[in-house]
């Protein structure tokens, strides 16, 4: 490697060094690329439902709440103290814990770090940076149907 000729031409030795070095890099890349790519999560084709029956009107009374399953995520249905039905994603916007309804506070509350949302889903105290995603609620017969708007 010391005797690179000043004519600008590469010595055979240097050329071979480069060639070998490049081959090692290419070889490593060829081995590592599939392994690293293997860890990427393949897209799941499970379609999330756009609406779900959260429960029956008969089971609800004012000032109560219930967490239910909406596709792959938890959602929360709240029967407000004045008897209105509201539904939100139950995934706290702070660090994704599942929120719950607190009848004593008349608010939605997250046990993980004490985040509080009002009954419109707005974050009003604690660490959550954004409101909860709201859903539409419709009553069909006895069923409470919650759907993504």
């Amino acid at each position: 490697m010391m005797d690179v000729p000043s004519t600008g031409k590469m010595s055979r030795r240097t050329f071979l060094d480069y060639f070998l070095g490049l081959s090692v890099v290419a070889w490593l890349a060829a081995v590592l690329y599939p392994i690293i790519d293997y860890f990427r999560v393949p897209p799941q084709t499970e379609a999330a439902p756009s609406s779900v029956v959260a429960g029956s009107v008969k089971d609800f009374k004012p000032n109560s709440g219930k967490v239910f399953r909406f596709g792959n995520e938890p959602a929360i249905l709240v029967d407000t103290p004045d008897g209105k039905l509201e539904a939100f994603s139950a995934v706290c916007t702070h660090l994704q814990c599942t929120v719950q309804y607190r009848p004593d506070m008349q608010r939605i509350w997250c046990a993980c770090h004490g985040g509080v949302y009002d009954l419109n889903g707005r974050n009003i105290s604690g660490p959550p940076p954004r409101p909860l995603t709201g859903y539409k609620v419709a009553v069909k017969g006895d069923d409470i149907v919650v759907s993504k708007s």
């Binding site: 938890p74 660090l95 046990a111």
Partner: protein, 359 residues
């Protein structure tokens, strides 16, 4: 060895055991006031062996998967003979191991054993600590109980907060966008295959470095004449002390495991509200508690992002101590290293205590 046993002679004819004999006779260990702290490396090694043995035993019954993990651990604890003991020892020893590694790291730091020529030993040791924490984090999820489920959710979500790389790394960790049974599969693979293999290799390198360079002498010996330095032979004196300490640790472990069996908790229910009292394991508490003190927004930057970046930076600087501590290697004392170290220890203790007492 004049009274060689038959077997010894047989082996010696084939493998020239005198090399090992010679090695054991020559090796010696510095002996001084602070040498007590030297034993924590050995204790960590012992606890790792305990983890490997009990971990393999747990593997005989454990079944990953959201429908089976909790049930199989409950089966281990309730039905399998001594299952409760094995699981309790694995959990207790995991925590003691991390504690012991942390003590070991700080004693290396304060005795300045990381300085030239032992920089690589320090770096490999730091990686071992990081692997230990990953062991703990991944193992915590395996019983699939409520606390571990939500703690993992929050913990991985915090990783996702890191700018640019956070989100992809979080998805790779979770094996999806949420913590599910797929996450459990991945954590399981990490915990019982990837980490043990990595840990064993790096531990081997770490021990090799120590073997080649010998154990470092304390700073205060720098200008002492050779005759004033006191050593004890590695074999048998140091080894015997080590073994004695291992026995004590094993007894402590047994007492903890029997009288304070590790709780199993309730099975994780992803579609139920998070319970009160979600906390990470104690060794993450000081960071967790500090993040709570950050305002949601600071100078337009997300408080969490800022907090994590600061901890990342601090950890990186700690890792690089052989670089910025240039004075010690040149022979003069560097008090800043001590002040920084004491500051870090106090910070960790204070915030861990606050975190432990917070509800």
């Amino acid at each position: 060895m004049n009274k060689e046993s038959k077997m010894m002679r047989w082996l010696n004819e084939r493998y020239n055991l005198s090399l090992i004999e010679h090695f054991a006779e020559e090796k010696k260990v510095p002996h001084f006031r602070g040498s007590f702290w030297y034993y924590f490396g050995g204790v960590s090694l012992f606890l790792f062996i305990v983890q490997v043995v009990t971990g393999i035993l747990l593997l005989m019954y454990y079944q990953p998967g959201a429908q089976t993990a909790y049930e199989s651990v409950r089966f281990i604890v309730m039905k399998v003979q001594f299952g409760w003991l094995i699981r309790s020892i694995h959990s207790w020893s995991a925590n003691l191991m991390i504690l012991s590694v942390i003590i070991h790291m700080f004693s290396v730091y304060f005795t300045k054993a990381f300085r030239k020529p032992r920089e690589l030993t320090w770096y490999s040791g730091f990686i071992l600590l990081a692997l230990c924490l990953t062991f703990g984090f991944s193992g915590y999820l395996l019983p699939w109980n409520t606390l571990s489920y939500f703690a993992t959710k929050v913990g991985t979500e915090i990783v996702g907060v890191v700018p640019f790389v956070g989100k992809p790394v979080m998805e790779v960790l979770r094996n999806g966008s949420d913590v599910t049974t797929a996450t459990l599969t991945r954590f399981f693979a990490l915990h019982v295959a990837v980490l043990p293999a990595l840990f064993t290799v790096i531990l081997g390198v770490h021990l090799l470095f120590i073997q080649v360079q010998g154990i470092s002498e304390p700073e205060s010996w720098k200008y002492l004449p050779e005759s004033k330095k006191s050593h004890i032979p590695f074999f048998p004196n140091f080894v015997l002390r080590d073994v004695l300490l291992w026995l004590i640790v094993l007894n402590v472990l047994a007492i903890l495991a029997v009288y304070f069996p590790w709780e199993l908790g309730h099975k994780a229910e992803p579609f139920a509200p998070a319970p009160i009292g979600i906390k990470p394991e104690w060794y993450f508490l000081f960071m967790f508690q500090s993040l709570r003190f950050f305002p949601p927004k600071l100078l337009g930057v997300d408080g969490e992002v800022l907090g994590i970046s600061l901890f990342g930076l601090a950890g990186f600087l700690w890792f690089l101590v052989p670089f910025w501590d240039s004075k010690t290697s040149k022979g003069s004392r560097n008090r800043i290293v001590n002040y920084v170290g004491i500051g870090v220890v106090l910070y960790i203790i204070v915030f861990t205590v606050i975190g432990a007492r917070a509800k």
